[in-house]
Symmetry: C2
Subunit: 332 residues, 2 copies
Amino acid sequence: MTTISQVAREAGYSPATVSRYLNNRIELPASTALRIDAAVARLGYRPNLLARRLSTGRTEAIGLVATEISNPFFAELAATIEVEAELHGYSVLMSTTRGAREREITYLGRLEDRHVDDLIMMTNEPDDGTLATNIDAHSNVVLVDEDVPGVAVPKVFVENEYGAYHATRHLIEAGHTRIAHTSGPRFLMSVRERMDGYLRALRENRVEPSMSRVLFGSYSRKFGADATDQMHSHADRPTAVFCGSDIVATGVMQRLREGGLNVPDDISVVGFDDMPFADMFAPALTTVRQPIETLGRKAFRALYALINKQETVAEERLPVSLVERQSVARRP
Amino acid sequence: MTTISQVAREAGYSPATVSRYLNNRIELPASTALRIDAAVARLGYRPNLLARRLSTGRTEAIGLVATEISNPFFAELAATIEVEAELHGYSVLMSTTRGAREREITYLGRLEDRHVDDLIMMTNEPDDGTLATNIDAHSNVVLVDEDVPGVAVPKVFVENEYGAYHATRHLIEAGHTRIAHTSGPRFLMSVRERMDGYLRALRENRVEPSMSRVLFGSYSRKFGADATDQMHSHADRPTAVFCGSDIVATGVMQRLREGGLNVPDDISVVGFDDMPFADMFAPALTTVRQPIETLGRKAFRALYALINKQETVAEERLPVSLVERQSVARRP
DNA sequence: CAGCTGGGCTAAACCGGTTTCGTAAACTAG
DNA sequence: CTAGTTTACGAAACCGGTTTAGCCCAGCTG
């Protein structure tokens, strides 16, 4: 490994000059520049990142914290963030919390440890306040897709309320009135907002909402299955269900099928997210699409603005759209 | 930020002693240990990683290079690698090549740049030799799931030939003889091996293989669709198709459905990988399961052995299994 | 009691860059 | 020709750890 001193010696200058030249912090006469360039080329010099990082104090890496990277929705989001980060010369350190709150806090600690300069967090479990205080102790965090209430960092979310409203109205327009809502963790922003949209659609169309029809749990396939069981113990069964996420919808559809029920003929299902392969399901899932790519890009941009101490918007909301496929049927 | 010198001063010892003690490189009398511990706690000392890295020359991070993290199979693999890495105190730097060979080589350069100590590569595009020579220049790379021919690094693969053999035999036992094979890039190890298994199953069961029935392309959904079109222009259409990967199978099934054909009644489909949600497809996909979790864990373990200069096996093969679902129907 | 051993600890070099401050030489203006 | 200003560059401090070589002294040995 050649060092900057070797390059300097080879070129006949000092390490300081070489460093400043290579980092464009100085204008040099053409002859000098040439000699340095030649020396760099001759020795195949590549600056030692570790040394540079120590001396500058910056790592040019960001952290990406998600609950599960194996969730296709997060995987896709991570992918777009990674692309955007690479574009700006940043590397991405990936970490999953697998539902453990303390791991989220551990990863925040990486900011202090200089592991990464900044963090993008996509959490999807409710917070009792500990996470919030931990995040607030840092100034270089961006929240994407899901809120952690009470923290003052840039946030990039989608129009949850409107998406849910739209989805529910779609079900109503197809003739459904007994519409269940199987969502996620009760105290999550997205869950509350989606429920709000669901309720508004019902009320605006004069169908009486019943809280016994809205089920909370976790954003997981298992909860979808469990919720389905619960729905069916209910007196008058729903003819349609609006799920808080596609993952939940897969659980619902799976259990429905196991129970011999046909989607959409016996019961209609709508999801939220439009995760990859939602169109391949049995049946293809009608769902509310989140603009994953834009979400990821905006999240990184917000972080980038933060890094460069530019003005950042406190919260951004991205539009969603209903994509109609085969999991909804008309009802007389 | 408190430094090790401040801790040393606070405790009344030298930085050297504190450093050695904190890294378990020295045995100290209990009284000394106590005073250092106390100083660390009092000042809330956290070692500066950047400094440590420069001085040790190690980053305690590994790189993960995949073509697409948004492919659920890779996402899942990445997730298990990340879990295993974290268990051993390593962070994971994620990078996707999006099919660009030069990006693969760029990421190899990160080894020299001390970005990461080691690299796990899951490539799935054929190599013209440039990647191979680049990999060979490094001693700390592990290949997982797919080979790059001619490089001498630890490799963790699955029993492709047997899996394909098994899948094809399953089709034959269901009465099929006109079985197509839509695979991936022709010169990929996995493609060749899976084709070998496919051909062996045919021959062992006295059905004459026809190379016009095996189609090569890319491991992508689009290729699955295109290949389906091509299959249908064929004189006597296949009654079943064995796909080289689930991603390809989704493309096949999608196009089949668009063409008004029913899976499995009109045509049976078998995939390879058992990617997440393969059981949710329409119909649920019969496929060859790769033990993703074991694959990821073994890959990291191989890398870890490399790091610690332990003996490593040159190549490991993991067993696969056929998981039967609804995409295959009997034929008289 | 001299010599040896080993425990406890540290000075100083080192990792390889970046950055600040400054100076000598060249150039410009008056 | 002198004073002031640029230009071109370098010495040295700094980032914050780790590690090597070795010092000092207590205790043991003969």
